[in-house]
């Protein structure tokens, strides 16, 4: 993975010093809250319901053991012993004191981490495929380009006061694990007919109160031009994006209001004017960054492990975990391990300091020192030898991190909701907890198969409900929590937006509704159809009927 040189380290250090000064000015009263707020936001510091919240960047979801241990340390020393992994591969702390934040940032800087641009109307932390560098289906490691974008976008002088926040995701696989069609810019590395690799550039996706699937504005962009092309998109957005209405300020509105063609013409014209300038990195610098992402020295192993096969047959619980939570690795004899942060009845994405230390230990011993965070609020050990899987499973089980439910009905995305968030209308987490308890039977979960439930506590859609196979949106009605169901969304390569079905339900009824929908699916599915496939085949009406008929 990427390591800072003295330049990267100096910039992060200078940022911490700057923020320390800004905090002092706020505490002394020199800065008003109005003046301070954008400054703290650009360092990831929010004010939530109970306390401040600090969002720490995990660039493109990649962590070392050392970094994970430092995250555990921050949770212990400055917070209440836990952290929360988000849908943007970041981690949030829910209880830091303002006066401690400069020290927290100093501690994080020691391990090449920061909270830069994790909020504010700027280019946010770049996200990527959590299996990058390990996936059998990738064209190349997308993180090289994520790091290129990270550096270019950090303290970009022109794009720090955009109309609204700006999120970029990069993948190099046909199987979209990074939700690239739902980002302000999604980049997909692929090969053209001539065998060269380049980017498909997708612009204008997003969730929130006006969800859109992104549009491809360029099928193939040679890789060396990435930054100049991004700069052209951002400049058009900075100048043309709406600033009169907070809810119409994202680039998706600009792209869709005037039409994709017009937007594309503006970008191409701007790009033609700047592509020869010094925005794009020279090959030497790209090679320097690429070297950090060269594959680890995988051992020359047989594709199958006898030790693993023996345990698979003798231990049914292990076999289930293998089936559900591990993924094919590109190197023979290795596997990708998903760590579930969704125990039955648990809080999606939450992890204690003790669990963080355990994951760090496992990564150090078994996974080339690497950990990934996923946009579905889980973790990954990307490079585990098949021979070691049993030991890893046992260790994860001891920490309640081995729930075999990846992609299944209890692997739920939920925003923090009204338990933490000052913008929320309703709680989200308790709904996720009740659903996962209702479907606690692992055999039943596996039988149901892939089913993505996503829950948001308000229309801002941090829980991605628009793209849940089953989405749940919390709405406040005169001081009471109600939940609206959407069906048929997807955030993957088959991206689609869900359709609202019927009236809002009470929290208890919402959990029952999910059960009815799942029952209906199981009665009507054909062959190996997933829930979403059945829904797409037979349409919304029968599901609606099943949902409201009995009621």
């Amino acid at each position: 993975m990427y390591r800072y040189d003295e330049f990267d380290a100096r910039l992060v250090g200078e940022r911490v010093a700057q923020f320390r000064g800004q905090v002092e000015r706020r505490l002394s009263g020199e800065l008003s809250e109005e003046q301070f707020k954008p400054l703290r936001l650009m360092n990831g510091l929010y004010l939530q319901l109970h306390a401040y919240m600090l969002r720490v960047a995990v660039p493109y979801g990649t962590l070392s053991s050392l970094q994970m241990r430092k995250l555990a340390h921050v949770a212990r020393k400055y917070d209440k012993g836990y952290g929360h992994f988000t849908t943007r591969q970041n981690i949030q702390y829910n209880w830091p004191a303002l006066v401690d934040v400069p020290d927290i940032l100093d501690d994080l800087a020691d391990v090449e981490m920061h909270a830069i641009q994790t909020s504010g109307n700027c280019i946010r932390n770049v996200t990527s495929d959590q299996f990058a560098g390990a996936a059998a289906d990738e064209v190349e490691d997308p993180r090289i380009w994520c790091e290129v974008i990270r550096q270019w976008s950090t303290f970009h002088p022109e794009f720090t006061f955009l109309p609204r926040k700006f999120k970029i995701a990069v993948t190099a696989s046909q199987n979209d694990r990074a939700a690239i069609r739902l980002h302000d810019i999604g980049l997909r590395i692929h090969k053209n007919d001539a065998g060269e690799t380049g980017f498909e550039v997708i612009v204008g996706g997003g969730l929130g109160r006006t969800p859109y699937i992104g549009h491809t504005i360029r099928e193939f962009l040679p890789k060396k031009h990435l930054l100049s092309y991004l700069e052209a998109v951002l400049r058009v957005y900075n100048l043309e994006g709406r600033r009169d209405n907070l809810y119409k300020a994202r680039i998706k509105i600009l792209v869709n209001a005037g039409g994709v063609e017009k937007f594309t013409d503006l970008v191409e014209a701007e790009w033609a004017a700047i592509r020869k300038s010094e925005i794009d990195l020279p090959g030497e610098e790209i090679d320097r960054i690429r070297a950090y992402f060269s594959p680890p020295d995988f051992e020359d192993l047989p594709a199958e492990s006898a030790a693993l096969e023996q345990k698979r047959t003798s231990d049914g619980a292990f076999a289930r975990w293998l089936r559900v939570n591990t993924v094919v690795h590109k190197a023979p004899g290795y596997a990708i391990v998903n760590i579930s942060l969704k125990p039955v009845g648990g809080i999606p994405g939450d992890i204690s300091d003790v669990q963080m230390e355990a994951v760090a230990d496992l990564a150090a011993q078994y996974s080339q020192d690497e950990i990934r965070a996923t946009h579905e609020q889980n973790l990954v050990l990307p490079h585990v030898k098949k021979d070691d899987l049993y030991a890893v499973w046992q260790a994860l089980t001891a920490q309640e991190l081995a729930t075999p439910n990846i992609r299944l009905v209890s692997d739920i995305i939920a925003c923090p909701g009204l338990d933490y968030c000052t913008l929320a209308n309703t709680r989200s987490i308790p709904i996720a907890q009740r659903i996962s308890e209702r479907f606690a039977d692992l055999e039943q979960q596996e039988d149901i198969g892939e089913l993505k439930i996503k829950i948001s506590g308000c229309i801002n859609a941090c829980g991605h409900h628009h793209v849940g196979h089953i989405g749940i949106l919390g709405v406040d009605k005169k001081g009471e929590e109600f939940y609206q169901i959407t069906l048929g969304g997807s955030g993957a390569e088959d991206a689609s937006l869900g359709e609202i079905v019927g009236r809002g339900l009470s929290s208890g009824d919402a959990v029952g509704a999910v059960e009815k929908l799942v029952d209906y699916y199981r009665e009507n599915r054909q062959d190996n159809e997933r829930f979403i496939d059945t829904y797409r085949r037979i349409g919304a009406d029968p599901f609606k009927e099943a949902l409201y008929a009995a009621a």
Partner: protein, 154 residues
């Protein structure tokens, strides 16, 4: 509202000279009527390309920040400097705060109608970062070029 000007890497208080200002719209309507104008004021929702031909008529161009959160003038300034080769003064007007002056300077601003009192602090803020990752309209060497230079020297 002190006027600060960029000298080297410092912001220095400058004397406020009386300006004869003209808006871009008025200038475009009738340049002859504004022949004595010394400063051109461009609103931040107008494309600077409209004045590309006449830039040499002005020693001062004023770009606006209605609030510090409205960052359109950053792009306008870069376009004036980098695309249209404007070498006169670009002055920031409006909500011009200490914590944004470095970004402004990097985009080509060299004069600031500073909205605070502590001009020494504003100048110090320019030095809070000694490096930049990306090239812009100023003379800061992007980090990638410093890395290349170092690799060549080694």
């Amino acid at each position: 509202m002190p006027l600060l000007k960029l000298f080297g890497s410092n912001l220095v208080p400058a004397l406020e000279e009386p300006l004869q200002e003209v808006s871009l719209e008025d200038w475009c309507d009738n340049p002859q009527a504004h022949a004595d104008a010394t400063a051109l004021v461009i609103e931040n929702d107008i494309g600077v390309e409209h004045i590309a031909e006449d830039l040499s008529s002005f020693g001062i161009i004023i770009l606006k920040f209605p609030t510090f959160k409205d960052g359109r003038a950053y792009s306008q300034a870069r376009l004036l400097r980098e695309r249209f080769g404007y070498t006169g003064e670009i002055r920031a007007r409006g909500d011009v705060l200490r914590d944004q002056t470095l970004f402004m300077a990097r985009c080509g601003f060299d004069a600031f109608e500073f909205a605070g009192d502590d001009t020494a602090a504003a100048s110090a803020a320019l030095g809070e970062f000694s490096l930049a990752y990306q090239s812009a309209a100023d003379r800061m060497e992007p980090v990638w070029r410093q890395r290349l230079d170092r690799a060549v020297a080694a």
